[in-house]
């Protein structure tokens, strides 16, 4: 760890930018080294979608220091936005905007995905504010409990949504169900983006570049937000709420904007995943998903943008490749009758425990969070030294 620090000190100032640029170029060119569709490309697409999700949660937990355990809610709402507005789910309606080809002949609502992703961001931002409001008067663990409950409420709505009928006074949607419950809304329209052929599941490159575009957009937004006035206000309330308020940081607006922005990012990722997975199913929206995303940002380094990107990619490949494909039969070679996939959350937990012991500040730590953790250790060490004297 110290060597990395020393190395960093020796490198010229522009080198982090150059490295970031190289990584981005490599990411853009990556599909050309791969066939049109294989499981690696599939995992890459998922990893990029999770990068977006994790950066969104990082805005709330890493930047503003508000522990959100119900982040799955925004995955759900974003995915349902795709389900509602780009599928044949509402068969009684015939709305087509910005789509072409066979989609125009299908019943249901078929909006161009660009419209859907914007709608998802807006709807989730509003939902983020709704969940943010009751937590304003709360601190720490209590925020976690309220957000956790919010995630569960959304899940229960999703599961029972097929019997929740939208009241008849609502224009267009009156008399229609809210969701399709555990059966899921499927199929979802394949993406149609300007300048690209309609997407399909056999050609993953367009999906990959769309996900990459989304990830770069959110990455850039995160970098700009971190260094903005708003970003400083988030750090201020995370560091010391009383002090922040006494300097005139508007507590309500600052906190709510972190919830809204984080939620909008999660919603965009959800809208993408809904289309990519080709189903919006209530079973997808479990509490463990929230923990999975939280684990990504803790693994990478709370508040550290590049760390979070790394954490999201690492845990996606662990979950979708290493555990099911590489090590799945490992327990049986020791004569144990379980698959490793059954233990995946146990493995995530184990990794988090290991991280807490070996490198609590994350893989690529953020400066201030690192100090936060080092402080505690430093004090203990100083006390020990004092005692020995």
């Amino acid at each position: 760890m110290k060597t990395i620090g020393r190395l960093r000190g020796r490198l010229p100032a522009w080198s982090p930018r150059a490295v970031a640029g190289l990584v981005i170029v490599a990411a853009i060119l990556l599909p050309f080294t791969q066939p049109e569709a294989n499981s690696f490309m599939n995992n890459c697409v998922l990893a990029l979608a999770y990068v977006v999700m994790a950066l969104g949660l990082n805005t709330v937990v890493g930047f503003a220091g508000l522990l959100d355990l119900g982040y799955v809610a925004f995955f759900a709402i974003g995915a349902y936005t795709t389900g509602w507005f780009s599928s044949g789910f509402y068969t009684n309606l015939h709305i087509h905007i910005g789509v072409s080809g066979y989609l125009t002949a299908l019943p249901g609502i078929h909006l161009n995905w660009l419209l859907v992703v914007i709608a998802a961001a807006i709807i989730c931002a509003i939902a983020g504010i709704v969940i943010g409001l009751p937590t304003l008067r709360l601190r720490g663990d209590y925020i976690a409990v309220v957000t956790l409950a919010f995630g569960e409420i959304i899940r229960v709505f999703a599961i029972n949504g097929h019997s929740i009928i939208i009241p008849s006074w609502v224009p267009l949607f009156g008399g229609e169900p809210l969701t399709n419950g555990r059966q899921g809304i499927t199929p979802i329209d394949q993406l149609q983006l300007p300048g690209l052929k309609p997407f399909d599941q056999l050609h993953l490159r367009p999906w990959y570049w769309t996900a990459l575009g989304l990830a770069l957009l959110v990455l850039f937004a995160s970098l700009r937000l971190r260094d903005s006035r708003l970003g400083r206000a988030w750090v201020a309330i995370r560091e010391d709420e009383v002090a922040a308020v006494s300097t005139g940081v508007p507590l309500v607006r600052t906190k709510l904007s972190s919830y809204a922005i984080g939620a909008a990012m999660g919603g965009m990722s959800g809208a993408f995943l809904g289309a990519f997975l080709n189903t919006v199913n209530a079973e997808q929206f479990t509490f463990s998903f929230s923990i999975y995303i939280l684990a990504m940002i803790i693994l990478g380094g709370l508040g550290s943008i590049w760390g979070v990107v790394l954490g999201a990619i690492a845990l996606t490949f662990l979950n979708y490749y290493l555990i099911p494909d590489v090590f799945n039969s490992l327990p049986s070679t020791f004569g144990l009758g379980v698959n490793l996939t059954d233990l995946s959350y146990g493995i995530f937990g184990f990794i988090l425990v290991l991280m807490m012991i070996l490198r609590p500040e994350g893989l690529l730590p953020e400066r201030r969070h690192q100090e936060e953790l080092a402080e505690g250790i430093g004090e203990t060490e100083a006390a020990l030294v004092e005692e020995r004297r």
Binding site: E239, S246, G248
Partner: protein, 236 residues
């Protein structure tokens, strides 16, 4: 008209009435001290003025304008700056970053100038401008808290216990600076346990007891009153 008029405010913490109708005024350019034992309601009064707490009854007027329903950022924007009890510096930020946050609501181009002015008032802060607030002594952090409050360019400065837990040498330094700030025309409302010290820089004082003002007089009168000395000022 007084700059700040606090009129029979009542404040509750849940069911407990912390202030039972506190009234006082602060005139422009004055230094006024609120004295009293622990739990008398001094800090509560300051927190209510700065919008951290809301009075359930009574009114607070700043330059004639009702401010008791305003949020704290609006109060800061009006020109009331609060250096909270226990200093509350941003521990992991540098001195400079703390001062910058003090100017959070300002959008003018004179922030740099005011930072220099704070460094002039507290040369110790200038020496430590790149140091993390958390690594400084209590007295230095108190200086930083006052400096940060000044960065908002207030017309009224609320100082809560600036001598609490601080080495006597630094208390002297801080009080010298408070006199200096006041000499430059700043209006200051001061809350102190260290009554003799506070009265030495004040024009007037109010004594609070269990959420009520029980005495109000000039600083000299309060300082020389033997009963007050014995009851509230640790009489020596």
């Amino acid at each position: 008209m007084a700059m700040l008029e606090v009129e029979s405010i009542e404040v509750f913490y849940g069911n407990i009435r912390a202030l039972e109708g506190v009234s006082f005024t602060v005139d422009e350019g004055e230094v006024v001290t609120l004295l009293g034992a622990n739990g008398a309601g001094k800090s509560t009064t300051l927190r209510t003025i700065s919008g951290l707490l809301t009075a359930s009854r009574g009114s607070i007027r700043f330059r004639g304008r009702e401010i008791d329903r305003l949020r704290s950022e609006e109060v800061v924007a009006l020109g009331i700056s609060h250096s909270p009890e226990g200093r509350h510096c941003f521990q992991r930020m540098t001195v400079r970053e703390n001062l910058d946050l003090g100017a959070y609501l300002r959008r003018d181009g004179e922030i740099e100038q005011d930072v220099e002015r704070v460094y002039e008032l507290f040369p110790r802060l200038a020496e430590r401008r790149r140091q993390k607030a958390g690594t400084m002594s209590g007295g230095e952090q108190q200086m930083l808290a006052i400096g940060r409050a000044l960065m908002a360019r207030p017309e009224l400065l609320l100082l809560d216990e600036p001598s609490m837990g601080i080495a006597p040498v630094l208390v002297d330094k801080i009080y010298e600076t408070i006199e200096q700030i006041s000499g430059d025309g700043m209006t200051i409302l001061l809350v102190e346990q260290n009554a003799n010290r506070a009265l030495s820089v004040s024009d007037r004082g109010y004594v609070l007891e269990t959420g009520r003002v029980v005495l109000s007089a000039s600083a000299e009168q309060l300082g020389s009153d033997p009963e007050v000395q014995a009851a509230y000022l640790g009489g020596d």
